[in-house]
Amino acid sequence: MINVEAVYWLVGILFVAWASLIAADTNHPRRWGSSAFWGLLGLCFFYSTWVQAGTAPGWILGVAVLVLVVLASTGLLGHGKHRTSTGPEREAFAKRFGNKLFIPALTLPLVTVILVLAAPVLVIGGTPLLDPKNTTLVALAIGAVAAVVVALLILKPKNPATPLFESRRILESIGWAALLPQMLTTLGILFTKAGVGTAVGTLASGLLPKGSLIAGVLVYCIGMFLFTVLMGNGFAAFPIMTAAIGWPVLVETFHGDPAIVFAIGMLAGFCGTLCTPMAANFNLVPSALLEMDNKYGVIAAQVGTAIPLLAVNIALMYFLAFH
């Protein structure tokens, strides 16, 4: 069986390879800080396997993570100058290869989707080929490897390590933002352990006037929205807002249809995800990936949809869930 840990090791190997390329780059302005950052990040991916299995102490990894934060935020992590193809070279390549260039780009999603769909029947000797709990992740990694192979076969670069060189360029433009989504997940865990959720829940139910249905719907939906903005995802907000308002007020007191209340409540939270830098993997990593000047540019493009959609969700819940 191809386990999800194998995928994490592939990611770890990539980080270590990128770190070695940076270490070998004598013109890099932050040569040692940058290679230390990416190399340590890669090692953390390996070591995590044992932390996850409970066979290695987690605090060592905790120390390493804090070192990463220090490296990234004290200016020791920097951008190298990359030699890549120039504009005219790219135009010439594009003329030469034409639409063949799309083949590797499409191989990736195609292989991923086929593997996800075929996973239930890909069973060898009674064990499934792909980790059934993480099929999508494993399929995505296999798709990524397949796409590189296809790209090398079609494009035949002079240097077979071109994918590695070129991805280092993209990685360095993402920079520290690559670590942020994982740090935010940790923050969410710490918030929950320390009781931030219960405090917010108490606050929200304290705000609620008794006996008003529309007030209940408003506090539940807007609460889901705001709490998601704070935590970065609706998953953390849902149990708390539901325990504080969704279940006792909307379902028990006003006899709302639970399926409608909860489905729409969660979607009100998703509107919050569109507006928050805490959802770094959706909102900040893309602006880094697209090399935008304003790192909040993605959020700026989404707020105009999120707010009216929140209003629609409130209306839908109010009119559909209570008969």
Binding site: V11, N99, L101, N134, R169, G195, W247, F270, V312, L320
Partner: protein, 237 residues
């Protein structure tokens, strides 16, 4: 209530634009201390938190293929391809992507796209290519706006498409939480069904905004041309 200081730190930190990594780390440590954890437990939490959240960083595995095809001019080819289709504008390209992303997510194929896989190598160059055909030149400001909306179309599509699919994380979270806490028995299918009205609303609202985006870009380009003309006129004097 004291633990909410951590939340406050996050808000203030992001508002004054400190490095988010520092903000998040400090807020986490402060919250944990206020919540009564000792330093050893805090370090342990940072470690286990990292180990259990590695899946969000898997996107870097697609960078090698994106890197090589960009090296060989994929973005340029995507622009050329779109440039041939006269009717396409940046907004229309993005509406098309929004529709594809939402429909595929609704049948469970969320992994078909993403910011690293599709937005950077394909969607953004196509949208920008359409703008290039229309204006002949894409100023930085317009390019920046197209970038934001390219990523936005992906997010809106996947968020409000995936919930229509029964086996997605958020639906399973609702059923497990509600069923174990309140002894209900909710079918994932019921929840997925009630996500459809919002999915349609999301497409209409975002689609409408993308149509308006073309008009905004037209306006911004005219302004850009005016200032450029003024500048050259100034130089001529």
């Amino acid at each position: 209530m004291l633990v909410l200081i951590g939340v406050l730190l996050v808000i203030v930190g992001f508002a004054i634009r400190l490095n988010p990594l520092i903000v998040v780390t400090v807020a986490g440590i402060v919250t944990a201390l206020l919540g009564g954890m000792n330093p050893a437990q805090i370090l342990e939490s940072f470690g286990t938190g990292f180990a259990s959240s590695r899946s969000v960083t898997i996107f870097v595995a697609v960078l090698p293929v994106v890197g090589i095809i960009e090296f060989f001019g994929l973005q340029e080819q995507a622009k050329t391809l779109i440039g041939r289709l006269a009717k396409l504008t940046a907004g229309r390209v993005l509406i098309g992507y929004l529709a594809v992303r939402q429909i595929t997510a609704a049948v469970g194929l969320t992994s078909i796209g993403g910011h690293a896989q599709t937005v950077r190598p394909l969607v953004f160059p196509m949208a920008e290519g359409a703008a290039l055909r229309r204006y002949g030149h894409v100023p930085e400001k317009i390019s920046e706006k197209i970038k934001g909306h390219s990523a936005g179309a992906d997010n809106v599509g996947v968020f409000f498409g995936e919930d229509v699919f029964v086996a997605v994380g958020s639906i399973l979270l609702i059923t497990t939480f509600v069923d174990t806490t309140y002894h209900l028995h909710l079918e994932p299918l019921q929840l997925a069904l009630w996500a459809i009205p919002t999915a349609i609303a999301a497409f209409l609202i975002h689609g409408f905004r993308l149509l308006r985006l073309d008009k905004q870009l037209d306006k911004e380009y005219r302004e850009f041309e005016l200032t450029a003309e003024k500048e050259t006129a100034g130089e001529a004097k």
